[in-house]
């Protein structure tokens, strides 16, 4: 039983890895690589957010705030103060995790809409600070971020490198790096979900009262998963800042938070691979619709509406349910 469970868990990860390995064959130019790299970074953020939204059932409308904090921590530490990238990334994640913990304690006592409102407010406050602390953050016009660098080895989307004797371009190196990051993020999330913590979280989602009756410390687990998802966001924000090379307070904006939540809902709440699809679809749409500028928002809204009406569980869960139903029918027919 446990064995098959393990297998099915790792199967998803294997498929994802396979897709990431095969994908470059379909990428025509450097821009495509860039797009996929961004998708991977955003998808990893959403995988983290999904732990909070999909598994613990707590809505955060301010997650871009943590993403933005991570991005700006990296930007300021490496750009203004010349820190190396990795310490900046780690310290940033610790600071953001700590902030999330402080903020999360009182907030997570709230339920339902109140919790959403409180996280919304946190996101807004972070965005306002980033906008107004001009001396530190460059204000609304944003600030440049140096390339990602480890021990003097710079990972720039424009460089060219030699890896194990094979020459690769900077954008390919970033693609590989982001793919590995995504795989690790997914692997960690999958393990967390199947651990006792994950079970506790799902019990909180099901019924908080019931969970506390059977002895689950709901407050502790809720704030734990809040911190974990904030750390995900912060780490990915840091990588995003390095990759983009320039950040503005828009990375911490309300719109961005909504985009994250939409990715979770569209892909399928509580489905780790589903939310990745959600991230891919929503990152791809603006590029696909670029030629119909006037219609972009209409199409965007229409897609969301149709998904919500016909696939309320999200893309992936609905599709897998559909496929397995078909399979069962077929098997039944033959027997």
């Amino acid at each position: 039983m446990l064995n098959t469970f393990m297998q099915s868990r790792l199967r998803g990860l294997m498929i994802l890895a396979l897709i990431l390995i095969i994908l470059p064959a379909f990428l025509g130019n450097p821009f495509h690589y860039e797009l996929v790299t961004q998708m991977a970074i955003i998808a990893a953020t959403v995988v983290g957010l999904n732990l909070l939204v999909g598994f613990a059932g707590q809505i955060s409308l301010g997650h871009a705030g943590f993403f933005g904090l991570g991005a700006y921590f990296t930007g300021i530490a490496t750009g203004t103060y010349g820190w190396p990238s990795v310490p900046a990334l780690v310290v940033g994640a610790i600071v953001v995790g700590f902030i999330a913990w402080i903020v999360g304690r009182p907030i997570l006592r709230l339920k339902g809409h109140y919790l959403s409102m409180a996280t919304l407010a946190v996101g807004f406050i972070i965005a306002i600070i980033l906008n107004n602390e001009r001396a530190l953050t460059g204000g609304p016009d944003g600030m440049p971020v140096p390339a990602f660098e480890v021990f003097g080895w710079e990972l720039s989307a424009f460089g060219s490198y030699s890896l194990f004797g094979i020459d690769i371009e900077g954008f390919q190196a970033w693609y590989i790096f982001a793919s590995v990051v995504l795989l690790v993020a997914v692997w960690f999330a999958l393990n967390l979900i199947e651990s006792p913590i994950g079970r506790a979280l799902r019990s909180v989602h099901g019924s908080e009262v019931a969970a506390s009756v059977v002895g689950v410390n709901t407050a502790k687990y809720k704030s734990l998963v809040f911190v974990i998802s904030a750390i995900y966001a912060s780490l990915m924000g840091s990588l995003y800042a390095h990759f983009q090379g320039f950040i503005t307070p828009a990375v911490a904006s309300f719109e961005f938070s909504i985009l994250f939540i939409t990715m979770v809902v569209l892909g399928g709440m509580g489905s780790t691979f589903g939310v990745i699809i959600g991230a891919v679809v929503l990152k791809l749409l603006p590029q696909v619709l670029a030629d119909f500028q006037e219609l972009e928002h209409v199409m965007f809204g229409l897609i969301l509406m149709l998904t919500m009406i016909f696939m309320p569980k999200g893309l992936l869960p609905t599709l897998t349910a559909f496929v397995s139903r078909k399979m069962r029918k077929k098997a039944g027919g033959e027997a």
Binding site: G142, Q244, F246, I247, Q293
Partner: protein, 385 residues
């Protein structure tokens, strides 16, 4: 059997058609001009006239035979005023569409987000955004057509000095334009030996600035008031200013130099001064003004084509496109390095915004005098200087 024949014939035809298309493409490969603009979203008042201008003049240039005997092809994307999508579209233009030059970037944020990319990809880039950081320090591949906010501050303060004003109150928006303008004004004031005695701010969503203005009025020694801001904020400041019955000379920045501001502010705008593009007063320009003809033509052509009022922001795009065309003609090719060098050496190009004299130290090429000081008289712009 029959089906396979048809299918094969279809395939042959497809291959032949593709081949033909490729050949014709090679015969007259167009020069690709890339652009990312904020056509929709909060900065659409910038991007919309810019895109219209680019479209119409690319059409016009193509009708007249193109550049270097090749047609121009405009590839544009809408960044919705969002810096990270601006960066993505810039990347798409450079790496996927492989454009020869980029003319775009409606806002400072969008421009700056694309700058690292442009610098590394080494593509000439003419920005249409205002702040001084874009070209100072000079970036090898980045140029811009609007005057900087610093020049606006210099022009306003020079005009104050002419009127014998040395102490003034400053009220600015906290948005990108206002806060950058505030920084520049404070620096310029110090350089010119003037004193900012009151320094107030308001946020973009404020609906009443009476409190800030009262503070300024109650400050000792205030001789004039300057408002640096964008959008509806300055219109509210102007109305509050009139409601409070303040009589001090009142200045606005070039951020509101448009006819729609006059409509918003109504009669309270009476008597205020601001630095602006000559485009607002094309017919009052003296006949020996080199820009007069260019400005009049642009206004007439734009208004005839789009049936809407011409705007200063569209003029930035006009100058950007014309500078790009001129640089390519002078370079004799679309080689990025050659075009960049040509751009850097453009001297005496008479545009709508001003007369451009580029140099390796100055990738904007305008001087503060390209701003005209206008005053609102009887609900209309009047050229003062």
């Amino acid at each position: 059997m029959f089906k396979t024949v048809i299918r094969r014939a279809g395939k042959c035809a497809a291959v032949a058609a593709a081949g033909l298309m490729m050949m014709s493409a090679q015969a007259a490969e167009p020069i690709k001009i890339g652009s990312f603009l904020s056509v929709t979203g909060p900065a659409s008042f910038l991007g919309d006239p810019e895109l219209k201008t680019l479209e119409m003049y690319v059409e016009k240039i193509n009708e007249e035979g193109g550049v270097l005997g090749r047609q121009l092809e405009l590839i544009h994307y809408d960044d919705v005023g969002n810096a990270s999508s601006a960066r993505n579209f810039a990347s798409r233009l450079i790496r996927s569409d492989q454009v020869d030059i980029i003319v775009g970037g409606s806002t400072t944020g969008a421009t700056m987000a694309a700058v690292p990319l442009v610098e590394q990809a080494q593509v000439p880039f003419i920005s249409l955004a205002g702040a001084v950081v874009i070209t100072n320090p000079v970036k090898k591949w980045v140029f811009k057509t609007p005057q900087t906010d610093r020049m606006a501050a210099e022009r306003i303060l020079a005009d104050m000095k002419d009127r014998g004003i040395t102490k003034f109150g400053l009220i600015s928006g906290t948005g990108g334009f206002g806060s950058s303008g505030r920084t520049q004004t404070l620096e310029v004031a110090e350089q010119m030996g003037m004193e900012v005695v009151a320094d107030e701010t308001y946020s973009g969503s404020d609906t009443d600035m009476t409190a800030q203005l009262t503070n300024i009025r109650n400050t000792n020694g205030v001789e004039a008031v300057l408002n640096f801001g964008f959008g509806q904020g300055p219109a509210i400041v102007t109305r509050n200013y009139a409601q409070l019955g303040m009589e001090l000379p009142f200045y606005q920045s070039h951020g509101v130099a448009s006819d729609s501001f006059l409509e918003l502010a109504g009669s309270s705008a009476e008597g205020l001064r601001l630095p602006a593009s000559p485009l607002l007063v094309p017919d009052s320009l003296p006949n020996d003004d080199p820009q007069k003809e260019v400005v009049q033509n642009y206004k007439a052509e734009y208004e005839a084509r789009w049936d809407s009022k011409v705007s200063t922001f569209g003029a930035y795009a006009y100058d950007g496109l014309m500078l790009a065309v001129r640089a390519m003609e002078e370079a004799g090719s679309t080689d990025p390095e050659a075009v960049r060098n040509a751009l850097e050496n453009i001297k005496g190009y008479v545009g709508v915004t001003g007369v451009f004299n580029m140099s390796p130290e100055d990738h904007n090429g305008l001087d503060p005098e390209s701003f005209r000081i206008l005053e609102v008289q009887n609900g209309e712009w009047k050229l003062i200087d």
